[in-house]
Subunit: 471 residues, 2 copies
């Protein structure tokens, strides 16, 4: 091959981050001797080890590689990056970032703990332990076209990703996939907008009302109204909605922010439902039966922890709705990153494998279930000690997937400041804990939403601080 | 490391596409003997060869791997996939898909050639020739967070991608990057909407008018009006725009569909400009000077050919506008795929390298310039022979990057049916050539837009058919 000859003319030094140079042709004679699959195993093993070492070399030589290195500041946003830097270091040393022992570093007491966003970095430690399992390699000439499968209604959906979605739902038993169209989105946020677009009547003079029972996900009103669409508009708390005519109700179950299982509350024949099931996974809540709704949204961010991929999917019963959702994503972003879909497919596959062979590998959901259980136990203890706060209690239920009875352990803690404190967000900010106040969710500022998915170091510091607050 | 031990317990067989299993620890002893970088080169070389072979095995064994295999149909959309399948085969055999010799396969005369979309698959042959240069490897535990750089205004922009954007513009000399904010988007389509959001006044009662001189990109009106926003609305051809008050004018230069260099036409002090510079690259038009506008949009789809990545970027002078664009993307998709940004960074880096070391590697822009020049020569010849059509003529100009005087050779041919034919799109459809008719671009149906960026096989068939049409 011409390209191979070209490559062999060049020097054999890597020229930096993830862009190796080498000659394929020189390898050709080796291939006939060994099993192809075994060789692949060997060579990929070399890769990961070596790339980690090259990255480490790079770091120590340049000091500014890939933006991980910059002057550490004390601001809340900087914390994410300081942690990222620590994480990278730990991935090439023998220390594990998933250690849960509480060793407060010097100056740690001044550090701002940002639990406002639901950044699911808790999961990094699992994927680090899995090592190379989910490493993905994409050749530069592959997946260049806009199209993934032109025969599919959702023409930008990678077939391998679709396959792994169906498989994972079957393994976990949390959603019916039969007779459903799959629409992939740039996160479930884009799919929510695609659903609004698809479900809004085009013939009505007034925008259709979009409602959800309070406390509702703080982004719903902002996203719905950001472009002041004449197709749809935010109409607030579903419980106080009394307008006649068509409406869209978002049912988030388990609910963000409070973690409760939910059903629609308006119950009029004119309503269309969007079920946001981002948190209907066994680490958060018992899986009682496969969800079986007309329009269900899922996302890798909260199921596997890969928020940076920006990948979500919708399971849609009605062909016309699926077609319109696809149209919205075509207009909005001309499809969805192929690279992230391919990576998501690998991650979902590894999770399904881990569930089906629990004796060979740590099951992803066992790991994350136990992680969440431990965190909720710590939080309930700290809340009890303080005498100042409360968190919701949930009835225990049988999880048919884990075959275990347990209480929901949501991705967010919905904390209430009891007693005199009216503004819980401000109160916790004074303790250098950033949370999101109740008013963003349509309820009292006595409540805050706290992410339970941060890295151990941050979560442990958060628990330590909470434990020291007294009434 | 704990995870390494875990991995070594498992069998060493690969379990499918891009998800190898192996033990890192067994490799450890090897590492001290060889140069780390040399080993990396060796192991990555093995990878690519082996993965291709495993994929091939997979294909021949299963017949349904990864969606490349399905019953070939005669519809236009299916063609993309049939080509993809051919392409994959060619990447593991010695035949090159970039061959430009015209060998019409049996039944080829009935094949529908879809040149409606601007799918830039022409570039695949360059990236195939470059082989492993742009292969990217992403470990499963990396880039999981929503955040790329929390210290940056555009907090979801990968620093390495930002660095390569600045470098490439400096190498090519097609845009000023100094004192600009970079905002990354899910393609420039999302950035266009982010710009509308950022530039629309929130205090006005009426939506701001959005205009562009006809013929304008067919997606602008559809995207602008798809949600019936009260912030902005499509107001048609900029040349006939006479309303007082604020407006937004989109200046696409070189223009999609007709390829001409453009400047704003309304010229009122109340206007704000969006410069869509997707095609301001030396394969399409002479680079006369670095573009120096307030808001400039670029995309990898049309510069490097990686449409499937869905990655674009904006260079923005005003901090407040950049901040609002970032906010829109946060609301719309909570950032942009990290995986695709990392892959785009590698591709841009390889292009810059290819420009700076023209003696060592084929310069990307030399390759693509010559490819476009050849195609335009073929098209002009066919158009001349037919006596039925015309295409625009462009004045030659000096390209300071290629140091060569040439006529623009746009990514689309803006073809006019001369004489009696009123509906050029229908006429060409009867020849099994799909194009996009003039009415979508705000002008007469005597015009069509034809993609010049399809694979050689399709382009050659297109030219052959055009050559056979006679007045």
């Amino acid at each position: 091959m011409k390209g191979q000859k070209k490559a062999s003319r060049k020097d054999s030094k890597t020229n930096g981050y993830l862009t190796p140079k080498f000659s394929l042709s020189k390898m050709a004679t080796l291939l006939s001797v060994f099993s192809v699959r075994n060789l692949l195993v060997l060579s990929l093993a070399l890769n990961v080890s070596l790339i980690l070492r090259v990255m480490l070399l790079h770091d120590s030589q340049n000091g500014s590689f890939n933006g991980f290195f910059f002057e550490e500041q004390n601001g809340p946003q900087e914390e994410a990056h300081a942690s990222k830097r620590r994480r990278l270091s730990s991935s090439v040393s023998s220390s594990s970032s998933s250690s849960s022992s509480l060793t407060m570093a010097q100056g740690d007491e001044d550090r701002v703990i940002n639990l406002d966003h639901g950044d699911p970095t808790m999961y990094e430690s699992y994927w680090q332990k899995m090592g190379d399992e989910t490493t993905i390699l994409i050749p530069g000439w592959q997946f260049m076209s806009y199209f993934s499968d032109a025969t599919n209604l959702c023409w930008f959906l990678e077939p391998e990703f679709a396959k792994q979605i169906v498989r994972l739902h079957k393994v976990v038993g949390n959603a019916v996939t039969e007779n459903r169209y799959i629409v992939v989105g740039t996160g479930s946020t884009q799919l929510f907008q695609a659903a609004l677009y698809a479900l809004s009547p085009t013939t009505e003079a007034d925008p259709i009302s979009v409602v959800s029972a309070a406390p509702y996900y703080s982004s719903y009103p902002v996203i719905t109204d950001c472009l002041k669409s004449r197709l749809y508009e935010w109409a607030g708390d579903a419980r106080s909605f009394s307008k006649n005519g068509p409406y869209i109700e978002i049912v988030t179950s388990p609910n963000n922010p409070d973690g409760y299982a939910r059903h629609s509350v308006v119950n009029s024949r004119d309503g269309t439902l969007i079920h946001d099931l981002a948190y209907y996974w066994p680490q958060y809540t018992p899986i009682s039966s496969p969800a079986n709704y007309d329009l269900m949204l899922f996302t890798v961010s909260k199921s596997t922890g890969h928020a940076g991929m920006r990948i979500g999917w919708a399971l849609v019963k009605d062909e016309d709705v699926a077609r319109k959702m696809t149209k919205y994503i075509e207009l909005n972003t001309i499809g969805v990153s192929k690279d992230s879909q391919l990576r998501a497919a690998v991650v979902l596959k590894v999770i399904s494998n881990s569930c089906e062979r629990p004796n060979e590998v740590d099951s992803f959901f066992e790991f994350s279930y136990h992680h969440m259980a431990k965190r909720w136990k710590q939080l309930r203890q700290a809340v009890h000690q303080s005498g100042l706060f409360s968190v919701p209690d949930f009835p225990p239920q049988l999880c048919k997937f884990l075959n275990r009875v347990f209480e929901p352990q949501p991705a967010f803690a919905w904390l209430k400041c009891e007693g005199e404190i009216e503004d819980c967000e401000s109160f916790l900010r004074s303790k250098r804990i950033l949370t999101r106040g109740g008013k963003h969710f349509g309820v009292s500022p006595k409540y805050v939403r706290i992410s339970m998915l941060d890295r151990d170091k941050n979560y442990d510091t958060f628990i330590e601080r909470m434990s020291m607050i007294r009434a």
